[in-house]
Amino acid sequence: EPEVTQTPSHQVTQMGQEVILRCVPISNHLYFYWYRQILGQKVEFLVSFYNNEISEKSEIFDDQFSVERPDGSNFTLKIRSTKLEDSAMYFCASSLLRGGDNEQFFGPGTRLTVL
């Protein structure tokens, strides 16, 4: 069964450093998302991406964040200068069709720890 994959599974970084989280969405999916989950809290939307453009972003997704689809398979989330409060699980998701009424498939997540 096709699945979303994410690397690394765990990333530890120093405050102020840049990190890049990587995702490989399901191959025929066209819409891509990043969510995050701070420990013990709900899953929060960060950004959606389609046709090499950001479709929507949340108030969390400030200038420190960027997304990119550098090739036909990878989808990345970059945090330029990490803060302690960026420590969270980051989930990539993809969907075949657009719209909130289409199933989003989530990856296993990357645990980011900022020291």
Partner: protein
């Protein structure tokens, strides 16, 4: 914006019992309400979803009930099993067509054998 309120925060049920989790939403561009199941260390996985041209959807032991006028929907797990022990999130789309999902805070379900 969208607020999704989920209750209870935690739930303990004996094996064979019924687990009920409730959610309420404010507004949405779509009538589509998914429930996600998350095991520790894993990403959320779609469990069941409803597009409420019907008020109820059943898949095996899992049922979603939907009350459009009250803007509420609930997940019922019949004959709960220890393997159902996980965190359950309800979600609702936002007010746009762009795919953003708003999640509830989650319910940690523990099923005792």
């Amino acid at each position: 914006q969208q607020q999704v309120k989920q209750s209870p925060q935690s739930l303990i049920v004996q094996k064979g019992g019924i687990s009920i989790i409730n959610c309420a939403y404010e507004n949405t561009a779509f009538d589509y309400f998914p429930w996600y199941q998350q095991f520790p260390g894993k990403g959320p996985a779609l469990l069941i979803a409803i597009r409420p041209d019907v008020s109820e959807k059943k898949e095996g032991r899992f049922t979603i009930s939907f009350n459009k006028s009250a803007k509420q929907f609930s997940l019922h797990i019949m004959d709960s099993q220890p393997g159902d022990s996980a965190t359950y999130f309800c979600a609702a789309p936002g007010g746009s067509t762009l795919g953003r999902l708003y999640f509830g805070r989650g319910t940690q379900l523990t099923v005792w054998p």
